[in-house]
């Protein structure tokens, strides 16, 4: 069972230098957020120094509330849903 607290705003960041894969990850993350009906801000992080600060070496990467949960791949929206609520 998935339990999440409504109203707890999630801070989601998509790290990537702007390649097609990064844009696809942003789209799918948005789909996942909509499907879950959670409150979240999705921010794109494109500057290399900022990306490197997360210790990520393969892009695109996904950071949820300050934790890197994904790097170097673009999963399906339904898998992103599980990542976002932390059951994966």
């Amino acid at each position: 069972m998935i339990i999440y607290i409504r109203g707890a705003m999630k801070d989601i960041r998509v790290l990537g230098t702007g390649c097609p894969n990064c844009n696809r990850l942003v789209e799918r993350t948005r789909e996942a957020v909509d499907a879950l009906g959670i409150e979240a801000t999705i921010t794109k992080v494109t500057s290399i120094p900022d990306i490197m600060a997360y210790g990520v070496m393969s892009t695109p990467a996904l950071v949820v509330d300050g934790t890197v949960v994904l790097a170097g791949r673009v999963p399906l929206a339904r898998d992103l849903e599980r990542l976002l609520v932390g059951t994966d």
């Binding site: 990537g16 230098t17 390649c19 097609p20 894969n21 990064c22 290399i48 120094p49 990306i51 490197m52 600060a53 997360y54 210790g55 990520v56 070496m57 393969s58 892009t59 695109p60 990467a61 934790t67 890197v68 949960v69 994904l70 790097a71 170097g72 791949r73 673009v74 999963p75 399906l76 898998d79 990542l83 994966d88």
Partner: protein, 313 residues
């Protein structure tokens, strides 16, 4: 089994032997290459779960590879899936881990050159011997060039802002979702789906060549007798980065019609390993001199390997 299906389909085609031969080639190669692609992308995906680039960096930086870190970097580069959009984070990440520039180059050269898609296509078109020769030469090329470039004192040709970031201590990001079988499989199918149109187009062109071009046709054209065949094919191949997965089946068919294997191998190495978009991306972190040394030395080595293969085969 695959042969039997292809025979059955080709049997349905009435008309000249060339058409049946082309159809047979198309069906057989599509089935075989499709299966190989799925197998190889799954295997490589699984390997990558155990050796994500972050862990590779830690391993090389730890000094446990001392003495053969160039070879190790090239080997890891071979099993790491390559994406040109990750080149910069990768490059800076390695320097951040205090990994020498030359070792970083060993990784950077081998990663696109020896990749899962190229290996699967090589297995399908040329069999395992040529595939092993290709993979081993790719890894040795990355190892050697990394050693050479590392001795050229090129650190000053890395853009200053890169060193500014690299000065900061690397933080290791923990990834939560790497060890899942289903994720590996999804990624593998994703890769195959993405390249499928190119591969199918390549096999289609290859089928036409196979069915309609007489055997030995190209011997007069690009054979050992033409001393400039190798450098010419490398020059032509460099702009073909985006369709590398479609080129290999075409070249496979050309080889069966008399194009020398070394020339073909050099062409494919250049198409797979040297890409203009990657050069443009890397220009942000490397000054022109370094970028030139990098791409120039790889191109020259591929030409050399092409001549060598033509001599051996």
């Amino acid at each position: 089994m695959l042969e039997w299906i292809a025979d059955a389909v080709a049997g349905l085609v009435s008309g000249p032997g060339a058409a049946a031969s082309a159809v047979h080639f198309f069906v057989y190669e599509t089935l075989k290459i499709g299966l190989l692609l799925l197998v190889v992308t799954h295997v490589m995906g699984a390997v990558n779960v155990f050796f994500p680039v972050e862990r590779v960096r830690t391993l090389i930086a730890s000094g446990r590879m001392r003495g053969f870190e160039h070879l190790a970097a090239a080997g890891f580069g071979a099993v790491t899936p390559f994406c040109s959009c990750s080149s910069i984070p990768l490059f800076i990440g390695f320097l951040q881990g205090r990994i020498p520039l030359g070792v970083t180059f060993s990784f950077l050269i081998t990663s696109p050159l020896v990749n899962e898609v190229a290996l699967a296509l090589f297995l399908g078109m040329f069999g395992w011997k040529v595939t092993v020769v290709y993979a081993v030469s790719g890894i040795l090329l990355g190892t050697t060039l990394g050693m050479v470039l590392g001795r050229l004192d090129l650190e000053k040709d890395v853009e200053d802002w890169v060193w500014a970031i690299a000065e900061k201590q690397a933080t290791e990001a923990a990834r939560r979702t790497t060890g899942r079988l289903r994720a590996i499989s999804e990624d593998a199918f994703g890769i195959v789906r993405k390249i499928a149109p190119y591969v199918l187009a390549g096999i289609a062109v290859g089928s036409v060549i196979h069915g309609y071009v007489p055997t030995g046709y190209f011997e007069s054209w690009l054979a050992e007798s033409n001393p400039f065949g190798v450098p010419l094919s490398v020059a032509v191949a460099i702009p073909m980065y985006s369709s590398a997965s479609g080129i290999i089946p075409v070249v496979g068919a050309l080889v069966s019609k008399g194009v020398p294997l070394g020339t073909a191998m050099a062409f494919m190495m250049a198409a797979v390993g040297l890409s203009l978009p990657e050069a443009l991306i890397l220009r942000k972190v490397m000054r022109p001199r370094l970028l030139g040394a990098f791409f120039g030395s790889v191109a020259l080595s591929i030409v050399g390997l092409g001549y060598l293969f033509n001599l051996v085969y």
